[in-house]
Symmetry: C2
Subunit: 208 residues, 2 copies
DNA sequence: CTCCACTTTGACCAAATGGTCAAGGCTACG
DNA sequence: CGTAGCCTTGACCATTTGGTCAAAGTGGAG
């Protein structure tokens, strides 16, 4: 079994192939529902070959989560304390919505994991994710207290952004069955809706 | 194997016992992740006994989903076309939030099912759920066009309500790791936040 | 009390599944 | 072109899991 970092060209390629197939399978069936045989089939490699590159099923899952966490947090990282508060937060909302559209598998992978109690990424949530959220919450609270946006709880604001944007990826099956539009045009409608909603929420109360 | 409706007292009791245990296990691990042995253990019955009352694992799961769907839709049913638009919708939001707090297992059961493509409740979503949403969306659109609430897409409004409220049940593991508050006091904060957010969203634009 | 239908379960089964291993194939480098 | 080390896999294994079955237990109507 090769070390953590792929060395040879072929190792790099197969690592990639496996993670790509695993993303597909894990995001569709959750950790327990996915099988090594499915991942082997989908990746075009044999099952023992998977286990040559990764020591176990759970290690594939963990590698995936770890690799994707950074990308997942990226939109929030980009929230600029120096920018215009309302526009910064709205840009964040729309970036998250774009990610839900472009990377629904990643979103569902995390959703599956967290719904089931986050057994494999508890540490990353408590570490990386929490400290980033804490940091950006302070920024938002600063804006809030300066009267540049409404007085709202930054944590719940962030939760509501996650919930409303990821909903379109995680609950896609439901959304598509309720809205009949064939294409993914509901993402455009969602964009309009969320843009309006969060703009409205952030606008400071003028009278009080 | 007894018919659909439990007849004897003992059948009624055991049906109940099994579904209660199954709710616990399915909501924690998803369909594939749950095992009959776990459900048997948790219900205090033997595995063959489970299969005396239900013909298969999937039939337990389906019975659960079916039984809970009605309760799940109830808050939306209560949305009164004759009431005050803003207050009706806000009351709906808060009812949904209460359900997320009081019935997190039910919420996660549905979340698990839908994230994985809703293989066992596709028909109920396309039927009962869709027609209810269609009906209430018409009501909301009516209010919207009459200028009694803002001009917003009723479907996406409903999605955003589901997303933001159920988030506190489905993603509880994440929420609790990010907010340190020990108790479930974050539900109170969420109530304040969501109340403000949706009130804001529904307020009609006065100028245009 | 008796008897019959309802209920319960220990033992068992076939299939699926995560994982192992030894043997064979391939490749890059000298 | 040869060989050392990387890569691949068919066959196999132990365990888990959904499900079966025959036999034993139990409760309540008469």
């Amino acid at each position: 079994m090769p070390g953590k970092i792929p060395r040879t060209r072929i190792q790099k390629k197969n690592h990639e192939t496996i993670l790509e197939a695993a993303l597909d399978v894990f995001s569709r069936h959750g950790f327990r529902g996915a099988t090594l045989d499915q991942i082997a089939l989908e990746s075009g490699l044999s099952k023992p070959n998977l286990l040559y590159y990764f020591p176990s099923k759970v290690s594939i899952h963990r590698a995936l989560l770890e690799r994707l966490m950074a990308n997942w947090l990226d939109p929030l990282h980009k929230l600029d304390p120096q920018g215009n508060p309302v526009e910064e937060i709205l840009a964040y909302v729309l970036r998250k919505l774009d990610m839900a559209r472009e990377f629904p598998r990643e979103s569902r992978l995390f959703a599956n994991e967290i719904v089931q109690g986050a057994p494999n990424i508890a540490d990353q949530i408590e570490g990386e994710l929490k400290s980033l959220v804490d940091e950006k919450s302070k920024v938002i609270r600063g804006w809030s207290e300066a009267g540049r946006i409404a007085k709202i709880d930054p944590y719940h604001l962030i939760f509501s952004i996650w919930a409303t944007t990821q909903h379109y990826a995680d609950f896609d099956a439901q959304v598509c069955k309720i809205i009949e539009t064939d294409g993914a045009s509901h993402f455009d409608d969602a964009r309009v809706f969320l843009n309006r909603m969060f703009r409205q929420v952030l606008t400071p109360d003028t009278l009080v």
